[in-house]
Structure formats: structure tokens, C-alpha cells
């Protein structure tokens, strides 16, 4: 590793001050499971940092609260283990519990944070499709104050986000789930665990009051485009429809078209496209079934 400085602020304001004072060349450090590996291994997706600002001790990043009308506040600094085991998340946002519960090993889940997973901006991030499908918003705090952004607008490309120098992602806001809804995330990996998603798919569905048509459908895909994406045309094709096997298959086929995968060491574009179809179809069926059961 090349030499760098390290700061360990104890509040959000102090962290923002450090970035302001030290200038360009700093990187926030959350759980470190991606960043420390990147610092060690080289091949950086970003210029090598001059200094790191630890987010570990910022209480503002550990927010966790549920409100009937506003939904869930989820601090960016919560670990995967904390997210995956949280009762609100498990009950109301199961796709997110699925995603957080799949990241690496027990050890990884104890270190990696949901904010770090999103800010690392890997197309394969396991919490990204769930957060997209659950329509999360990201709260960003920086020198110019605060802004709230739909997560979909957060990523610009692999390893690239809208965050400007000195800005931090502090928390996510997830709207309350509709009645008769369900959400799920699954990924495909060659091994049963420890791998990076070759394809990740999250779906969130809500049925109408009679349970006969799909009131709302959200489909998000990981590792099949430069950023995690929503499969909007597939969503539109299903919303308002009866969840027939044919309609579900059609939506899965559209999602396949929306994917723009590449071939790399983890899988070919053809494999990824194929899996988007298979997995989207399976997940929609399972989610609709769960929504029906309530």
C-alpha cells in the first residue's frame, strides 16, 4: 500500500470539516471490505487517496427508525449483519434483508456497511437491486448542505457516483410498503456463497385490494449494466395486469432486453442475459405468491 493519512472523526460535522480542510484526494472509509482490498491490490477504480476519513465512529450514520407514514430510515453506516437481522427490514423490506444477508461471509457482513456497498458502486452490489426495487432515496450531506436523491440517480458508472468531494451518503429512506406486497432478492453465483453476483435480481410487487391485478411492480437488476438498473419496461408491462404465467414470462423477456451485460471473468454476456430471464420470472412468481399469502 502506498502511504496515506487517516482521520477518525467522531461526528458528521467533524468529518465534513476534515474534507474541507484537507482538500481533494480524500476517501471516506466505511467497513473497508472493498476499499482496503482495493488499496492493497492496486488496479484502482479511483485515484489513490492521499487520506482516508473513517466513518466508523459517526453516530449520524447509524440511524435506524420506522415510521408508519414515512417508512424506514436506514443509516448508511449500518453493517450488513445489522441490516439483515433487523426486524423492520426482515418484515417490511425482505429483499434488502436478502441482499445484506448474502454479502460475503459472516466476517464480511460484520464489517461491510450498506452505505459502503452503495458508494463502492459496483454493478454487482447485493444491496443495490433491493434498494432500487424498494425505491430508496439517498440522503447526501456535504459542504453545500443536504440533498435527497432517488437512488437510481446515484450511480454514474462502475465505481462512479454523483458524490462530489466532501459529500457523504448518510442514510437511506425507504417508503412504507403497500398492503399485499412482497419483495425478494436473489443472485446467481457459481458457489453457494462468497462469490460476487453474476446476476442479481430484486423484485417488489403489490397486488390490488382484490388480489387480482398487480398494482405496482418494481424490478431491479444487478451486474448486467454499468450500474444497477431498474427494468422499467418490464415493470410497465406487468403493472395493472393480472399476474398470469404468460404476463410474467413476457415481463421477464422484456427485462432480458433491458439488460446490457458484458462478458468478464465471472460470466459471459449470454449467460447473464439468460439468467436475467430465468431469475426475473422465478422471482416475480415467488413474490406474487408471497404477496397473495400476505
Amino acid at each position: 500500500m502506498r502511504p496515506f493519512a487517516h482521520f477518525a472523526p467522531r461526528s458528521l460535522d467533524e468529518a465534513l470539516d476534515i474534507f474541507r480542510r484537507e482538500g481533494e484526494g480524500g476517501r471516506p472509509l466505511a467497513g473497508g471490505t472493498d476499499l482496503v482490498v482495493q488499496l492493497k491490490e492496486g488496479g484502482h477504480k479511483f485515484p489513490y487517496p492521499r487520506y482516508l476519513v473513517s466513518l466508523r465512529r459517526l453516530p449520524e450514520l447509524k440511524a435506524l427508525g420506522w415510521h408508519e407514514d414515512q417508512g424506514l430510515r436506514l443509516g448508511a453506516g449500518l453493517t450488513m449483519a445489522e441490516v439483515a437481522s433487523n426486524g423492520w427490514v426482515r418484515q417490511r423490506y425482505p429483499a434488502l434483508a436478502d441482499g445484506a444477508g448474502l454479502v460475503g461471509s459472516r466476517q464480511t457482513m460484520n464489517m461491510a456497511t450498506v452505505g459502503g456497498n452503495v458508494c463502492n458502486a459496483a454493478p454487482s452490489a447485493d444491496t443495490a437491486p433491493p434498494l432500487l426495487a424498494l425505491e430508496a432515496q439517498a440522503r447526501i450531506v456535504g459542504p453545500q448542505g443536504e440533498r435527497l436523491l432517488p437512488l437510481e440517480e446515484f450511480w454514474l458508472g462502475p465505481g462512479q457516483t454523483v458524490l462530489r468531494h466532501g459529500e457523504l451518503l448518510t442514510e437511506f429512506l425507504l417508503p412504507p410498503p403497500l398492503p399485499r406486497s412482497a419483495s425478494l432478492y436473489r443472485r446467481h453465483t457459481p458457489r453457494q456463497q462468497m462469490d460476487i453476483a453474476v446476476v442479481g435480481v430484486a423484485v417488489a410487487v403489490a397486488l390490488d385490494d382484490g388480489g387480482r391485478t398487480l398494482k405496482k411492480v418494481r424490478i431491479a437488476l444487478g451486474a448486467v449494466a454499468p450500474t444497477p438498473i431498474r427494468a422499467r419496461r418490464a415493470e410497465e408491462a406487468l403493472e395493472g395486469q393480472a399476474p398470469s404465467p404468460e404476463a410474467i414470462a413476457r415481463a421477464a423477456a422484456i427485462a432480458q432486453e433491458e439488460a446490457r451485460p458484458i462478458s468478464d471473468v465471472r460470466g459471459s454476456a449470454a449467460l447473464r442475459r439468460h439468467l436475467v430471464g430465468v431469475m426475473t420470472e422465478r422471482l416475480l412468481r415467488e413474490a406474487i405468491e408471497r404477496a397473495r399469502r400476505g
Binding site: R2, H188, R191, L271
Partner: protein, 766 residues
């Protein structure tokens, strides 16, 4: 666990499950591995690894690296002390001096006060390369118009490592005079293969590919060297082969072997990948700077620049008669050696034609050079590749002829007296017994029920290994307090020292606690061959047994004098020698210890000596069965149950023998399903880490049933035969056969990734 045992005499220690004598130190973190050693004035090495697969080095500029505080030296090939170089032997090209032959080849060494400083400065060394065309794929490398992987032809290939694993007389032809990437070939012919195919009722053929894989010991390579002012060179290395390292280092650096001390530090896994590689380089660095020097490789460095196992392409055609008699085998076996010769062509050719009786054989083996890291041994090197082809073909034949795959194998399995393709006859072996044991497993007996499930299936495969041969020696000494010390020169990786304690305690009829076993360094230990080729218990165990018998005779001789009773009338138990029928006439080991070690002692110390040479192999065979579930839409294969039956001759410590069988089987599952070093078309390794080089995890490996089969060997201690290697061999074939059974798709390429399974099922377009 089950055990298929022939008649056996009663033993007190051998044959009984025993805890490893080193286990307590290991579970508490007290065991000292190479990277845990500390020496005063130690410098840490980081190697500059070439970022290109084939190039000429134009210039190396170390000025920026040397400017980093804490950096003591940056050395290139030109800066090393005078030494023997051989451009054809990987370990004798200490640093690339002119031509870089593979991505990751070391071209310079940075020495610094701590590893972080060394690594940081390493990245500042500037090397100017003139890139040359790289050849990456072995089949392309064989084409007439292929670029040459190296500009100079091979003259003196080093095959010592391979011989450590498999020792057999056979002709291996060196490279032809015409420049070519084919560095050696082997041919075995028997009968008339065309006539054989003509009489066959079914003929199958195919091309099977196996990926390049890495041993992936969890401890990367670590070597420390110190050259002191008196001219003594000391090396601590996580090597399986201390005496081999001593020999090679002494030869390379022009030192007498007597002045080179090699200590095999506790090996954190080797599997054939830690024989001998960077010891001469690290020793040369220590000689250059006159300070102790340590090279601890990172995982990435180890994956780039150690000695993984080769990629192979096996073209096989096999013919069988309707009654299941195998009548013809024709094979072209191609191993990709990487940038230096040393691929396991010989064992591959012997095993593809030596697992079944077959009157007509035509087997050709090719060793091909490419611009990839050169290969070394991995547990039964070369064998899984050919078993993948042969055992897949056996299932395909059985299916075509509507025969039971286990019966077909039993009918053709080699037995004692059957010839290898080289003509050499097999000694007593237990392949049939292994198949019979597998026939009794739940998985095999339930296979028809399992097949009712639309996506589940059962697959069977066998495999074997011939084993290496090297001489060995051991000493057994009696201490002043009556306890026993056994000294050997073989690195203990698999629990062999525990087995040696059992052997010595057995021969001296002692409680196990009275025996201690130590692996000495090359200056203090009696010679032993490398811990490779599954031969440590088979060879060193015999030496320990002889040494214990010798010590026993010496003890009896002194006791006979003391008790005035003929030695034949003495018996020995729990450290007491007494006259048979006269229990009052006795002398204890403690007394004998004093009588042979004390001041003015009357007798010379008791030192039992055992030295053997091994000339006959004791091959080991295994049969394995897998139950898998295949997801036909994602291509994912899940192993639900797995069983391994292996003939071990005699299990001196069944607990460690089972562990060897289960561990090898799990490695077989790794190469069957996940493991693959992926290179791009420029010869760059794309997955030099344990994230994308996928070792099987606990989630992927079900509990493995181990069934010990015991068909005694003719020379091994108590009938023991080779154990370590065979268990890796059948994995890819067993899984491929199970996948075919489950979903009807035959996969010809290992690992059987979801992508390959989907393609075999016809589910992927383009």
C-alpha cells in the same frame, strides 16, 4: 466410518484412530509457520512481477524505489552472486535477465526493512519491456505457424519434481530439432487399435478439457535465507522437500551440501505445489546483502508466480463389446506446461491406458510450452485430467450398451499382474474392492429412486495413482528416562509423524505417550525423500519400523546381559523388559536409559537405525460416487452427497487416512465445479485472488463419506500403501457422470460451471 478390512492381526497402536500429535499446538495458534519466524536484521523481499507474458527486458530503473526510506537494495539478475543458470529449468532462472516468459515472472527483487515498504517500493521499479508475441492456448501453440513461447530451444528439462510423485521407467522423448512449442512427447502402443475398434459394438469419442488450477494451500510460499560469515547457508522454507531443496540450492549456488542447512517449517498445505522454487533466489539475495532475507508471497503473487497445475486437452476414442469388454483405447493427451517443461505427461499417459484391461492401446502424450506460468505437481499430477476423459467415456459406453456402469468397470478393472501401458505389471491393488465398496453405499443403492427426481442423478468414477519412490532413513533413540525419540527427515504435512509414533510404539510395545517424533533439518536428520508422491508413510514408515526393530534388538541385547536370560526368552511391555515366565527378572527402559547415557555408563547409547530403498510401488485406487442436483435453468450443480472408497493397504491411523480421502475428494469437487485460472488472450491472469479463483466453501462441500478399503501392499509397513493422492482423481468425472445422469447433458469441460452446463443443455444462445 465404514472400513472394508481383510483379515488382519491384532495390533496395539497401528490401525487405531489416534489424535495428531501436533493438533493441540495448531488449535491454539502456537505452531510456528515460516512467516511466524523472526530473525535479527531481517530484510523483507518483494519481487517485481512482469506485467507481460512474453517480452524482452530493455532496461530496469530502480532509482525511485531506492529513494524510498527503508529500502536497502533492489537487485536484478545481473546483481546476483555467480550461480548456475539453466534457461530450461524454472527454479534456475532466478530472475528473468533478458526474456520474460510468463505474466508474473520475477524480474527484480526489492529488499526493505518491512514488507509494506518493500511492496510500496516494488511498485516504483520501472521496467521497460519490448513485447513479443505470446502464445497462450496449448492447441494453438501446437500449430506449425504458432509463435514460439521462447526464443531458445529446450536442451535440459528438469523432471525431478515429477519423479518425486511418480517414479517409473519410461522413455520420454525430448524436443525435436525443429523449433516447436512441443517440448516432449510420449507414445505407448499395444495390440492393434484399429482391429480393436473394428470388433467393438460401441465406440465413443470426445475431447475433454480441464482447466489450469492452483493448489491453493492456505499458506502462500514463505522462504527465509541467511548466509553467515562462516559461509554457512541456512534456509527455512515451507517446503515439502527439504533434502531436495538442499541439493538444488547447493548445486545452483555452487556450495557443498554439507554447508547448506534446510529446515522445512511447518507446511501450511502443499499438495505438490511446495517442492522447490524460490529457495535459490532467496538464498542468492541473502548472499548478496549478507543479511537474513525473507520472502513471504501474497496470495496474488503466489497465484501469478508459483507452480499451479496444468490445463489439459484429452482426445479419447474408446471401443467396447456388447458384453462390456473394453477392446480399444486411442488417446492424444496434451498438457500445457506453461513457460518451462515439467508437465505430467507420463503419468497421464500411463493412467489413461492403465486403469482398465485393454488389449489394444494407442496413446500419445504431448507436453506443450506456452507463455503462462510453468506448472508443478498437484496431488496425483495429470491424473484427474485423464480420468475425466476415461471415466466419462466408460459411462457413455455403458449407456450405449445398456450396461450397468459399475459392472462395466468391475469387468475391466486392472488387477495384480495386469500391465501398465509401459508393460510394467501391477503389484497387488484394490480397484475392484473399491468398486465393490461403492456398490454398497446408500447413494449407489438408492440411485434408481434418486433418478425419480427430475433434476437429480448419481455418478460414479474411479481413479488411481502409482506413487513415487525414494530412499528413506530414520533413527530411534532411547532417552535417559526411558522415553523414545524418533528422528526423520521428511516434512510432516498429513500426520505422518503421528503414524511414525504409532509404528515405533507398536514395535517397542510402549504407550504412545512415551514416543516423540521430530522432523530434523537437513544437517541433523537422516535422509528422506520429498513429502510428495504419497510415499512418506510407505517409505519413511518402513525406515522407522526398521529403526524401532533395531532399537528393540539393542535393548534386548543389553537386557539379556543384565538379566542373564537369552534375548529370545525376553518380552517387552510398557517400558519393561522381563524374562518370560519369570516376572521378577526385569529391567525397565528407564534403567536401560541410565545404563546407556549416564556418566561412566556401561553400555553405548541405544540408537536404532533404519534405512531402506524402495523400488516397488504400491499404487492406490479409489472409487467415488456423487449425488447431484442440477438446476436446468441456471446450470448450477449442487453436490448433495458424496462417498469415497479408497484402497489404502492398511490404515495406520484411520483418522488421518479418512482426512486424506475427504480432503482429496473435496479438492476433486473444486476442480469439478469451480476452480479455473482464467487467462486473457495476452496471457494475463484475470483471477489471481480467492474471490474469483473459487475454492469450494463449506456451503459447497457436503459431509463426505469415507470408506477405507484395505488390500495390503507387498512392501509397505503393515501392508500400508500410498494414500494422499488418489482421492482427488475421480471428482470431475464423477460429477460429470452425475450431471449427465440428472439432466441428460454431457459436459466435456471442467470445471462444470453453470455456463458450461447450460451450453450442454442447449439453453444458451450465441
Amino acid at each position: 466410518m465404514a472400513r472394508e478390512t481383510l483379515e488382519r492381526p491384532r495390533f496395539r497402536h497401528v490401525g487405531r484412530p489416534v489424535d495428531r500429535i501436533d493438533a493441540t499446538a495448531k488449535v491454539t495458534g502456537q505452531t510456528v509457520y515460516g512467516d511466524d519466524l523472526r530473525l535479527p536484521r531481517l530484510l523483507h523481499v518483494k519481487l517485481v512481477h512482469a506485467p507481460v507474458a512474453h517480452a524482452r527486458i530493455r532496461r530496469i530503473d530502480a532509482s525511485k524505489a531506492l529513494a524510498v526510506p527503508g529500502v536497502e537494495a533492489v537487485l536484478t539478475a545481473a546483481d546476483l552472486p555467480p550461480h548456475r543458470t539453466n534457461p530450461d529449468a524454472r527454479a534456475q532462472v532466478l530472475l528473468a535477465s533478458d526474456e520474460v516468459l510468463f505474466y508474473g515472472q520475477p524480474v527484480a527483487a526489492v529488499l526493505a526493512r518491512d514488507p509494506y515498504t518493500a511492496a510500496y517500493a516494488r511498485d516504483l521499479v520501472e521496467v521497460d519491456y519490448e513485447e513479443l508475441p505470446a502464445v497462450v492456448d496449448p492447441l494453438e501453440a501446437m500449430r506449425e505457424d504458432a509463435p514460439l513461447a521462447r526464443t531458445a530451444a529446450i536442451r535440459e528439462a528438469d523432471r525431478s519434481e515429477e519423479q518425486g510423485h511418480i517414479t517409473i521407467e519410461a522413455q520420454q522423448e525430448q524436443a525435436q530439432s525443429r523449433p516447436s512449442n512441443v517440448s516432449s512427447t510420449i507414445t505407448f502402443r499395444r495390440g492393434d487399435v484399429e482391429a480393436g475398434f473394428a470388433e467393438a459394438d460401441a465406440v465413443v469419442e470426445g475431447t475433454w478439457r480441464s482447466a489450469m488450477v492452483h493448489q491453493s494451500y492456505i499458506e502462500p510460499h514463505v522462504i527465509i535465507a541467511d548466509y553467515d560469515a562462516s559461509g554457512e547457508l541456512s534456509i527455512w522454507s515451507s517446503t515439502q522437500a527439504p533434502f531436495h531443496v538442499r541439493h538444488e540450492v547447493a548445486r545452483t549456488l555452487g556450495l557443498p551440501e554439507a554447508r547448506v542447512r534446510v529446515t522445512a517449517t511447518e507446511v501450511g498445505g502443499g499438495f505438490g505445489g511446495k517442492i522447490y522454487l524460490y529457495e535459490p533466489l532467496v538464498a542468492a539475495l541473502a548472499m548478496a546483502v549478507r543479511r537474513p532475507v525473507k520472502l513471504t508471497m501474497s496470495r496474488r503473487e503466489d497465484m501469478l508466480a508459483a507452480t499451479p497445475a496444468p490445463q489439459a486437452v484429452v482426445q479419447l476414442k474408446a471401443g467396447m463389446k456388447a458384453d462390456g469388454t473394453l477392446v480399444a483405447l486411442q488417446a492424444r493427451v496434451i498438457y500445457d506446461a506453461g513457460a518451462f517443461p515439467g508437465a505430467p505427461v507420463l503419468p497421464g499417459c500411463l493412467l489413461i491406458g492403465g486403469s482398465y484391461k485393454c488389449p489394444n492401446l494407442d496413446i500419445q502424450g504431448f507436453e506443450v510450452l506456452t507463455n503462462k506460468v510453468s506448472v508443478g505437481a498437484l496431488r496425483a499430477p495429470g491424473a484427474p485430467h485423464v480420468a475425466f476423459a476415461l471415466e466419462s467415456a466408460m459411462d457413455m459406453l455403458a449407456q450405449r450398451l445398456e450396461l450397468d456402469p459399475l459392472e462395466v468397470r468391475l469387468k475391466n478393472a486392472v488387477e495384480k499382474g495386469d500391465p501398465l501401458p509401459s508393460g510394467q505389471p501391477y503389484p497387488a491393488i484394490g480397484l475392484k474392492e473399491c468398486l465393490e465398496a461403492i456398490a454398497r453405499t446408500d447413494i449407489w443403492r438408492e440411485r434408481h429412486r434418486i433418478r425419480q427426481h427430475p433434476h437429480r442423478g448419481v455418478g460414479l468414477a474411479v481413479g488411481g495413482w502409482l506413487g513415487g519412490l525414494q530412499p528413506a532413513s530414520a533413527t530411534v533413540g532411547l532417552n535417559a528416562d526411558g522415553t523414545i525419540n524418533v528422528t526423520v527427515g521428511a516434512a510432516d504435512i498429513t500426520g505422518t509423524n503421528t503414524s511414525f509414533a504409532q509404528i515405533a510404539a507398536e514395535e517397542l510395545n510402549l504407550p504412545l505417550e512415551m514416543v516423540s517424533v521430530v522432523t530434523g533439518d537437513t544437517r541433523t536428520a537422516p535422509y528422506a525423500g520429498m513429502t510428495a508422491g504419497s510415499k512418506t508413510t510407505y517409505t519413511v514408515g518402513r525406515a522407522v519400523k526398521l529403526a524401532a526393530e533395531d532399537a528393540r534388538q539393542q535393548i534386548l541385547a543389553i537386557a539379556s546381559q543384565r538379566l542373564e536370560v537369552p534375548a529370545e526368552e525376553l518380552e517387552m511391555e510398557d517400558g519393561v523388559v522381563r524374562a518370560r515366565g519369570q516376572p521378577e527378572k526385569q529391567v525397565t527402559f528407564r534403567e536401560l536409559g541410565r545404563l546407556t547415557t549416564g556418566f561412566g555408563a556401561r553400555y553405548a547409547p541405544i540408537v536404532g537405525r533404519g534405512a531402506i530403498t524402495a523400488r516397488r510401488q504400491a499404487p492406490g485406487f479409489t472409487a467415488q460416487v456423487a449425488e447431484v442436483e442440477v438446476d436446468p435453468d441456471t446450470g448450477q450443480v449442487t453436490v448433495l452427497r458424496y462417498a469415497v472408497a479408497q484402497d489404502v493397504g492398511f490404515a495406520i491411523n484411520p483418522k488421518s487416512v479418512e482426512g486424506q480421502m475427504q480432503g482429496g475428494a473435496a479438492q476433486g469437487l473444486g476442480i469439478a465445479l469451480f476452480e479455473e485460472m482464467v487467462y486473457d488472450d495476452k496471457g494475463r491472469l484475470l483471477n489471481p485472488d480467492l474471490l474469483d479463483y473459487r475454492l469450494p466453501t463449506t456451503r459447497d462441500v457436503p459431509p463426505i463419506e469415507a470408506i477405507i478399503v484395505e488390500v495390503p501392499s507387498e512392501e509397505g509397513p503393515y501392508g500400508a500403501r500410498i494414500v494422499g493422492e488418489p482421492s482427488i482423481v475421480p471428482g470431475p468425472a464423477a460429477v460429470a457422470n452425475a450431471v449427465a445422469d440428472a439432466v441428460g447433458a454431457r459436459v466435456f469441460e471442467a470445471p462444470l460451471t453453470p455456463e458450461r452446463v447450460l451450453r450442454a443443455l442447449g439453453k444458451l444462445r450465441d
